[in-house]
Structure formats: structure tokens, C-alpha cells
């Protein structure tokens, strides 16, 4: 029973990751692609929880939760920094007005 639940949660995590990849590939520009780091982080959390369910409290489960926590904290920081960098790259200055046409 425990392994069936772990496999189900793992499947949810993999589906979220694949959804993030499909979204990143299908979107038109870098800003739209950037939105799909959110589902990828949630997928990481699901995979970590499935490892915890499958192996119980152990070193590998602790490392999985630590990895998911790191991704949860670092992903928004990275998304903000990247969006700002792309804006500066496409418009010359991140404070440029919205009427400017971008390169990306």
C-alpha cells in the first residue's frame, strides 16, 4: 500500500515536470517560458514526498526534502533575477517603458 501511494505521488511529480518542459518548449518568448519554473518546483516537492513515503525517515529522504526545500526557496529568486536580466537584455534598461519593442 505504501509503495502504491509513493508511486502515485511520484507519477504526479513526473507529470508536473513534463508539463513544465512542454510549457517551456511550446511558449513563444522567454518571459512566457519563465512561468514554467513554478510547476517544476512543485514537481520536485512531489518527488521528494514520494521518496519520503517509500523509504520512511532516512538519510536519502532527508536529502530529498532538503533538495525540494532548496528549490522552493531558490526558484522565485532565480525567476526574478532572470526576468530582470532578460528585460535589460531586450530593452537596454529594466526601467524602459512598455511601449518599447523587445528582442525576445
Amino acid at each position: 500500500m505504501r509503495h502504491a501511494i509513493a508511486d502515485a505521488v511520484l507519477a504526479v511529480g513526473i507529470l508536473l515536470e513534463l508539463g513544465a518542459v512542454v510549457g517551456t518548449v511550446a511558449m513563444r518568448d522567454a518571459y512566457e517560458r519563465l512561468h514554467y519554473s513554478g510547476p517544476a518546483t512543485l514537481g520536485a516537492l512531489a518527488i521528494a514526498v514520494s521518496i519520503w513515503i517509500a523509504s520512511g525517515p532516512s538519510t536519502i529522504a532527508l536529502q530529498a526534502i532538503l533538495l525540494a526545500a532548496f528549490l522552493l526557496v531558490s526558484s522565485p529568486v532565480l525567476a526574478h533575477f532572470t526576468a530582470r536580466a532578460i528585460r535589460e537584455w531586450s530593452r537596454g534598461d529594466w526601467r524602459a517603458g512598455d511601449d518599447d519593442e523587445g528582442r525576445s
Binding site: A6, D7, L10, G13, I14, E17, L18, A20, V21, T24, V25, D29, A30, R33, L34, Y36, S37, A40, T41, G43, A44, I47, A48, I51, A54, S55, T59, I60, Q63, A64, L66, L67, F70, L71, S74, S75, L78, F81, T82, R84, A85, I86, E88, W89, S90, G92, R103, S104
Partner: protein, 85 residues
Amino acid sequence: MNAFLIAAIVLAAAIVPLGWVAFRGTAGDGVVAVELAGVLASLALLAAAKGLERQPFASLALVLAVCSFAGSLVFARFLELGARR
């Protein structure tokens, strides 16, 4: 072959389309694709660690996640610096 090994293979295979985006798209698209590829590689290592019951691979996944975060910040910074030249 257990579910975690299959998951590791699927996650590793999912990096291929991101490589295509990085190769074909603009520099901004490439940075976004590389960031997501870093997350997928970390999770593939983690799933492989569980599937093979080899705990050191999980440590490798943690180190890769931190290095990938730092590397993505550097790529984004280069993108910004490239815009100023």
C-alpha cells in the same frame, strides 16, 4: 527496474527538448531552458539514488542543485552585462 529508475530515465530524457530550445532560441530562451534543465538533472539524480539505493547519488543531486542555481545566476548576469555593451 523500479518506478524510481523509470522516473530517472524520463527526467533525464526530458532535458533533450530543453537543449533544443537553448540551441534554437534566443539567449534569454537559453538561460530559461538551462535553469529548468538543472532542476531536471538534480531530480533525475535523486530518483536514480532512490532507484539504485545508492545514497551518495542523493548528495550529488544536492550539490548539483546548488551549483546549477549559482551557474544560472552567472548566466543571467552575463545576459545583463551583454546588454550594456
